[in-house]
Amino acid sequence: MSQNILQVKQLTVKYNSTIVVDSIDFELKNETIVFYGPSGCGKTSILKALLNVHEPNMKTRGSILLDGNDIKKGSGEIGMTIQGPVVPSWLTIYNLCKMGSKMRRLNTQEQHDRIMSMLSSFKIDHLVDKYTHNISGGENSEQHLLLLYLMNLKCYYLMSQPPLLMVLHECQYGVILKVKYIQCKYQQ
């Protein structure tokens, strides 16, 4: 089984000629780290580089290795929850779950069973055929976050933009617990 070691060496991110991230090194192994700092200091740029997202004027240098190998673009190995619109509002919860990177490897019946068991374990199976924009505000954002974690089961590391920003203050602790539960139950 893979060790899931994420190594970042000499990572530099430039926008045109402006250096936003300058030669940073870190290594992660089954742990949680937090990047924090003022706006524009390069937090999102690091995540974009890890996710292999490239914007037209963005240049990256350095190496990002997962278990000693380069991360393939669009492989779904590293996931990210995103600032702004969290998930597409035109998909049903069921279809959203089906798009998870690990989920796509299963056959239809296995997918169905897996999705239903995951949703019922979080007591949100009644929302299965609803579009994300049809569910209520607080419930909506909390479920979004949870679903993103559920969907990214193949991911070794999850990169979160302000992860609890959209969740009601009273619900935040509950969401953290649920995310921890998913990490323990499904991610290994």
Binding site: V53, G74, G76, E77, I82, N95
Partner: protein, 281 residues
């Protein structure tokens, strides 16, 4: 005064709901019945002052066309021209719009030419099209698809360039295939704009079909059909009733196209379980 149903008993709440429903249905009925009746009355009062036919004469003209077998034939011919032109223009425009919006290199190659051609008035190139292509169906459909193409291209291009980057990152983070990205994320994301564009393009196709039928039939004995041709004949023979009947038929056709488009989108949403009419995008 603020109306709420809080604090009311169940029966009262049901009564309030029923009243709201009745109010809504009354508004709908008034849209369908009262407004057209009011317009008919206004028309009947003012039409004689401008030597225009009354509604009875217009209905008579429609019956006359039905009896001599031209009415439905003309509708079919004009619809065929408008819809085939629309289908070609919309598909090509949408595909190119996605390509130019998504890939800046494609826009660099084609953008300048397309932006220039977009401003050439479609009615100005109609005579040239007839001169080159003749009076057959080809040039008529070409000119309609030309008009629809540029409208669809520019709106799709703008919609794709304004596509939220978060959705692209989201697709990246899930490792979606190109197929999934295109049909489950990118296309549904811009679908509200695409539907709006399709509606506008359908309206354009009806405008241009009239121009194409007027221009493509007056000079020859061939291809004397279509609602546009009927309008030109009505003007030549000073038959205002026929003219207005054809104009009203175009309006009716537009509404039918619009309804069909919405039903098609609804059906597609039902089959694919993707909400194409969402408010985002």
């Amino acid at each position: 005064m603020l109306w709420t149903t809080d604090g009311l008993s169940r029966s009262k709440r049901i009564r309030v709901k029923t009243m709201k429903l009745k109010k809504n249905s009354l508004i709908k009925i008034s849209q369908i019945v009262f407004v057209p009746i009011a317009l008919l009355i206004v028309w009947s009062i003012f039409a004689p002052f401008y030597s225009l036919p009354g509604m009875s004469k217009i209905c008579g003209a429609i019956i006359e066309m039905i009896e001599n077998g031209t009415y439905f034939h003309d509708i079919a011919i004009s619809s065929f021209r408008a819809l085939s032109g629309f289908a070609i223009g919309f598909s090509l425009g949408a595909i190119l719009g996605i390509l130019t919006g998504r890939y800046s290199k494609v826009f660099l190659i084609f953008g300048g030419l397309l932006l220039f051609l977009r401003w050439t008035p479609v009615l100005a190139i109609l005579p040239l099209t007839i001169r080159i292509g003749g009076l057959g169906e080809g040039p008529k459909i070409f000119i309609i698809s030309w008009a629809c193409f540029f409208l669809c291209w520019i709106y799709t291009h703008v919609a794709v360039t304004k596509l939220q980057k978060q959705y692209i990152w989201w697709s990246d983070s899930l490792g979606l295939s190109l197929n999934q990205r295109l049909f489950k994320v990118y296309l549904p994301a811009i679908s509200p704009s695409l539907i709006g564009t399709a509606r506008a393009a359908l309206a354009i196709s009806l405008i241009v079909v009239v121009a194409a039928e007027l221009g493509g039939t007056l000079q020859s004995g061939l291809f004397r059909n279509g609602l546009g041709y009927r309008i030109s004949r009505a003007i030549e023979t000073n038959r205002n009733d026929l003219n207005i009947a054809c104009i009203l038929t175009f309006g009716l056709l537009g509404i039918i196209y619009d309804c069909c488009l919405f039903q098609a989108v609804k059906l597609l949403s039902f089959i694919t379980k993707i909400d194409f009419c969402h408010s985002e995008g």
